[in-house]
């Protein structure tokens, strides 16, 4: 098997050949580290590569498997972490200058669970500074680039994770999502990104951005891989006060049940007039395919959905201002200009506006839950456009000029406000060769249903098999 073959194996494929002892974790780790060395100068998807640690862990995995102590599908598989997951003895920067030398004493719960499952942590990925933005143009570690077009952004804030997975620089990665930060980069880089229900995955030891919006979740090259990673990281954690004591299903069991008989709601409010024609076309074809596979599709309505980006922005701004209060007072010049300006504005928002946004949030959540009484899942494009060029600061939509964050992310924040599980899967490519994503949403803690719809779509298309031209 060549380095390139290894690079694009899914986690489930790697798991099978590792289990069958056709390849060793050490060979896979070496191939991954070699590929990072070869390509990451162009991509800049990693902030820290954990070469020595990864080889040491892979050697141990090899010994364990030889002895018959196979731990499961992540054993010996190269995984990366967005650089806001605490890793014992390895710096965790949050993509910032402020934490450039921060070396945690402990692993966060997700890191711990991945290590226990035998995953090989190969490195910490690039991200928008403190996760506060969607372009991943990081002023301290340099911009991460989209493997489908190096002149374009990968999206963010988990852009390094998305770029690394898409380019075969790891088999899966952990991202975080406060207003679309897993789903946006996953869609723009042509991979699968899963934001589970709020409380499903522990955030203990993960650098916060906004406590009531933050979610941790996997980014992978297939839906099955997202299920495999979620299986390992999901479940209650006493260290995280927002963690939910809800039983974890076997996500692989119902994965291939198909969509026949499922009721799928298509979100097409007036608000959604933004998608460019290629995104719209890809989305309409996706809906037709799911209908042909036996799902019943009809229009769904969330009357106040147009208020979701502003509501999210208000709440996230205030919470992030609180998270950053001390550093903004003591080290303002250590922030990048854009993030500093965002946090300063956030400090000046009135408490009454924050509470108003929290009340609008209740309203929007009720509307989503009502819609999900009528439908098993809801569908909407993940982003209304494909990846923008690095350096673009605003986009013209109709007769309005809007900032990049508002332009790329109008369809994702409602799921942070409501805490509902949302998955993005590749559903097409533009004529310029840039990926387009489909977002699937369902009821609280019904991750299995979301994965089931995603798998059914993926199994009948080949978008996820395309490889970026980077090499």
């Amino acid at each position: 098997m060549t380095q390139l073959d290894i690079a694009f194996q899914t986690i489930s494929e790697l798991a099978q050949i590792i289990k069958d002892k056709k390849i060793s974790p050490l060979e896979i780790t070496h191939a991954t580290l070699d590929r990072i060395k070869l390509l990451d100068k162009k991509l800049n998807s990693y902030i820290t590569v954990m070469g020595d640690e990864a080889i040491k862990t892979a050697q141990q995995a090899e010994k364990d498997i030889k002895k018959g102590n196979y731990k499961g599908p992540l054993h010996g598989v190269p995984i990366s972490l967005k650089d806001l997951y605490n890793t014992r003895g390895i710096r965790t920067t949050g993509g910032s200058n402020i934490l450039a030398d921060f070396v945690p004493d402990e692993d966060c719960t997700v890191t711990e669970r991945l290590k226990t499952a035998g995953a090989i942590i190969v490195g910490k990925t690039n991200m928008h500074e403190f996760a506060l933005g969607v372009s991943n143009e990081n002023p301290h570690f340099g911009p991460c680039r989209n493997p489908w077009d190096l002149e374009r952004i990968p999206g963010g804030s988990s852009g390094g994770s998305a770029a690394a997975v898409a380019a075969g620089l790891c088999a899966g990665s952990m991202g975080s999502d406060t207003g679309g930060s897993i789903r946006i980069p996953a869609a723009l880089c042509g991979i699968v990104g899963f934001k589970p229900t709020f409380g499903r995955v522990s955030k203990a030891g993960v650098l916060p951005l906004a406590w009531s919006m933050d979610h941790a979740g996997p980014m992978t090259r297939s839906v099955e891989d997202a299920a495999l990673m979620l299986q390992v990281i999901a479940g209650w954690d006493p260290k995280d006060p927002s963690s939910a004591k809800v039983p974890v299903a076997n996500y692989r069991r119902g994965l291939k049940a198909g969509v026949k008989g499922l009721r799928l709601g298509i979100l097409k409010e007036g608000f959604f007039k933004g998608p460019d024609s290629e995104v719209n076309e890809a989305f309409n074809k996706t809906v037709s395919l799911l209908k042909n596979l036996g799902a019943a599709t009809s229009k769904a309505s969330i009357p106040h959905i147009e208020y979701t980006p502003l509501t999210l922005r208000t709440i996230t701004s205030v919470e992030s201002a609180s998270v950053h209060e001390k550093w903004l007072n003591t080290r303002p010049n250590d922030y990048g200009a854009d993030v500093r300006a965002r946090l300063e504005v956030s400090r000046l928002i009135l408490a009454s506006d924050y509470l108003r946004a929290q009340r609008v949030r209740s309203l929007i959540r009720k509307e989503f839950l009502e819609a999900l009484n009528k439908f098993d899942a809801l569908l909407v494009p993940t982003c209304p456009m494909t990846a923008l060029k690095i350096g673009e600061r605003s986009v013209k939509i109709g007769d309005k000029v809007v900032d990049v964050m508002s332009a790329i992310g109008p369809y994702v924040p409602s799921l942070n406000l409501t805490g509902l599980p949302a998955l993005t899967v590749p559903c097409g490519f533009s004529k310029a060769g840039l990926p387009i994503g489909l977002q699937i949403i369902s009821k609280p803690f019904d991750e299995g249903l979301v994965l089931r719809v995603g798998w059914a779509y993926e199994a009948n298309t080949d978008w996820h098999l395309r490889r970026p031209p980077i090499g």
């Binding site: 009531s212 208000t314 701004s317 300006a341 400090r347 000046l348 209740s362 959540r365 999900l372 019904d446």
Partner: protein, 68 residues
């Protein structure tokens, strides 16, 4: 009640507000902060127009709520 005209804020007002909030904003950055803050406040008008009298703020969702 929503404002009919765009809210205009002076940099001097922002300087005072920032000081009260404990922020150090250099004079050279004041205009940019004022523009950004004014833009956001004007956007917030959209939320102020909504009738949310019967809504309580969402803080924490009960995990048993609406289980599948």
């Amino acid at each position: 009640m929503a404002r009919e005209e765009e809210l205009k804020i002076n940099p001097e007002d922002i300087a005072k507000l920032a000081e009260m909030a404990g922020l150090r904003v250099e004079a050279a950055r004041l205009d940019a902060l004022t523009a950004r803050y004014s833009g956001f406040l004007n956007e917030l008008e959209k939320l102020r127009e909504l009738d949310i009298n019967d809504q309580e703020p969402a803080f924490v969702f009960r995990s048993e709520e609406s289980l599948p």
